[in-house]
């Protein structure tokens, strides 16, 4: 039996290679890798030259929206779709709720972005609970349709409520106050990018933490076989609600920052297209795998901006690239874990 274990070496999958490299590294090496990766990401706003630059759009702005925001939202949606296997087509609703919370409170009260952030997150979570309680009794396609409806309800309600601007939206949303020497302005969006980066890192930390604990196992069990999960004592409704509201919280946080960044929001920014694009990021990158989702979202957000110079043809090229990739890698660019810990263990054993 011991022999059998060592024989099953990974099939040269990039994800597996990265993960085994990580697990084989010593704690100090891991810290070094993590710090340098974060440092590299933090320096991204300064890399807007040469091949990386976006010819038509402003590179700094592209990094914040769509790239940063998409990564953040895709990570949030990944908890719902990738981890727990609940197909949510109305994710944009939580983004909208966060954005509207920021816009309304920002223009009518003296609260600043950082003070509104927790309120926006709380309201998005609440919306997640309100949607989840009835909707999570449904499964699969039915759940998808209800969540799709919810996304549209939120958008159409915003469109028809004159108090919050109706179709005109809300203008003059304040930018966040400066933190020390770091100032937030539309002309130089580095500060926004760093805030998004911090939010992304927090989300990754949260997901990684939960994945190896009770909640992560519950989600994983629900995704694989909900009936069996329940018969093995998993309180499925509770954990599905948690999954929904944590996903919503991330979406809400992204929304608050987005409103504070664009200074103007309107219902047409929160269409079904956004939900589907975020879902595409998750599926394209690799459902359930954090690094896959990050990679998928970066590519899907960045690519259309990079090829903006071919104007109308860009969506065609983009769609074609999507179809081809999904044909060759149906599980996404970096699929979820397929390897077994034993491989790494024996590999470490060999080294000694």
């Amino acid at each position: 039996m011991k022999l059998e274990k060592t024989k099953t070496v990974s099939e040269g999958n990039l994800r597996d290679w990265g993960a085994s490299y990580w697990e084989k590294s010593s704690p100090t090496k891991r810290k070094a890798i993590a710090t340098s990766l974060i440092g590299l990401a933090a320096l991204a706003p300064f890399m807007g030259f040469g091949l990386l630059d976006t010819p038509v759009s402003d590179y700094g702005a592209v990094l914040v929206y769509p790239v940063g925001m998409f990564i953040l939202m895709a990570l949030g949606l990944n908890i719902v779709v990738g981890k727990s296997g609940l197909l949510d087509l109305g994710y944009v609703a939580f983004f909208a709720i966060g954005a509207y919370t920021m816009a309304i409170l920002g223009t009518r009260t003296s609260l600043n972005t950082w003070q509104i952030m927790p309120i926006g997150i709380a309201l998005a979570m609440l919306a997640g609970l309100i949607l989840g309680l009835p909707a999570l009794r449904l499964r699969g396609d039915y759940l998808a349709i209800v969540t799709l409806g919810f996304g549209e309800i939120v958008r159409i309600s915003a469109l028809n409520t004159r108090e919050i601007g109706g179709p005109n939206g809300i203008a003059n949303v304040p930018v966040p106050p400066s933190i020390g020497p770091i100032k937030f302005s539309l002309n130089d969006q580095k500060a926004f990018f760093w805030v998004v980066l911090i939010m992304i890192l927090l989300t990754i930390w949260m997901i990684r933490r939960l994945s190896v604990r009770r909640a992560g196992r519950a989600w994983e069990a629900i995704r694989q076989d909900e009936d069996v999960a329940e018969l093995m004592g998993v309180h499925t409704l509770k954990y599905k609600l948690w999954s929904f509201s944590i996903g919503a919280a991330v979406g809400g946080a992204a929304g608050v920052l987005y409103a504070s960044k664009t200074l103007f929001i309107a219902p047409e920014m929160f269409t079904l297209n956004v939900s589907i694009l975020i879902l595409a990021c998750v599926v394209f990158g690799g459902m359930g795998n954090i690094w896959g989702v990050v990679l998928g979202a970066s590519i899907l957000a960045y690519l259309p901006e990079r090829i903006r110079f071919i104007s109308d043809a860009r969506l065609l090229v983009f769609g074609l690239a999507l179809v081809i990739t999904m044909n060759f890698r149906p599980d996404g660019l970096l699929p979820r874990k397929k390897r077994e810990k034993a491989i790494v263990k024996s590999a470490v054993g060999d080294k000694k």
Binding site: A215, E220, V228, M232, G233, T236
Partner: protein, 297 residues
């Protein structure tokens, strides 16, 4: 005066009814006695007049069955007799049309499935239903989670309690895998495991919920004779470790070898419930399996 008489009359009637009930209880008590020394045993699970109908089909018809603490009760019967339906009602998958299931004299009607698991009933599945993308160990840890007090937030912020429980759950899961004899596979993904190991992992996962009663649905399906012998030993060890086992099986030699009692279902009705040796020679059981001889009817 008449009112006093009436009161006396009602009381007398009540007492006699109770006495008759008591008598019936006593009788069943004595009758159970012939299956061994379990006259002194505690009833763990009781099915009372359990009936379940799917549309016009009666899957179970007024089934009464008692399972005593610490025994192996085998549930046998031809295909479609309602054996798995019993499991599904006990674990809360189906709702009984009438009658009820009692665990330690507590009714399970209306209870949520995960709650039934929590108070002590776990099961395996006829067609293996493991969490394939998890390792064997994770499968069992997921089951041990049912008794943890710390939830999502505890895990997120790494409270001392969550850490302690996480560690304890892992140790417990290893212990169970060791007990079932498959600990060497603990880090393998469940879906990559050999068939026999998967079947045993199902049992390990059920034990992970720390049940009082474990329901095994055809655990020997697809096993060769040697594996069946091994399984029989495992089931006996599970019983000896203090669990009560309700077993659905088709392999007669396995059943006759390890069960303390055998209950037979046929067309949703219980036709026998006794010691293995008695059941084996029961006319109705033979008829249920082989049919009624032509000249007898």
């Amino acid at each position: 005066m008449t009112s006093v008489l009436l009161v006396y009359f009602v009381m007398a009637a009540a007492i006699s009814v109770l006495a008759i009930k008591e008598d019936r209880l006593q009788k069943s008590f004595i009758w159970q006695g012939n299956s061994g020394e379990d006259g002194s045993r505690k009833v763990l699970l009781e099915l009372q007049d359990l009936t379940i109908k799917f549309g016009g089909v009666t899957a179970l018809n007024a089934v009464n069955l008692k399972i005593y603490q610490g025994e192996i009760l085998a549930l046998i019967g031809p295909n479609g007799a309602g054996k798995t339906t019993v499991f599904n009602v006990v674990t809360g998958v189906y709702r009984a049309t009438s009658g009820q299931v009692l665990l330690n004299n507590q009714s399970l009607s209306g209870m949520k499935r995960h709650h039934i698991t929590k108070i002590g009933i776990a099961r395996t599945f006829q067609n293996i239903r493991l969490f394939g993308d998890m390792t064997a160990l994770e499968n069992v840890i997921t089951a041990t989670d049912v008794h943890k007090g710390s939830g999502l937030l505890g895990g997120l912020f790494g409270t001392p309690r969550a850490r302690r429980e996480e560690k304890a759950g892992r140790a417990k899961a290893h212990e169970i895998l060791e007990f079932i004899g498959i600990d060497e596979y603990s880090d393998r993904l469940a879906r990559n495991l050999p068939y026999g190991v998967q079947r045993r992992l199902e049992i390990a996962r059920a034990l992970g919920t720390n049940p009082q009663l474990i329901l095994l649905d055809e655990p020997a399906a697809g096993f060769n004779p040697a594996e069946k012998v091994e399984l029989a030993k495992t089931i006996t060890r599970i019983r000896d470790a203090g669990y009560t086992v309700l077993l659905i099986e088709h392999d007669m030699s396995l059943i006759m070898g390890i069960s303390d009692r055998v209950a037979v279902l046929d067309f949703g009705q219980k036709v026998a419930d006794d010691l293995p040796s008695v059941v084996q020679n029961d006319k109705r059981v033979v008829e249920a399996y082989l049919g009624v001889p032509a000249d007898a009817s």
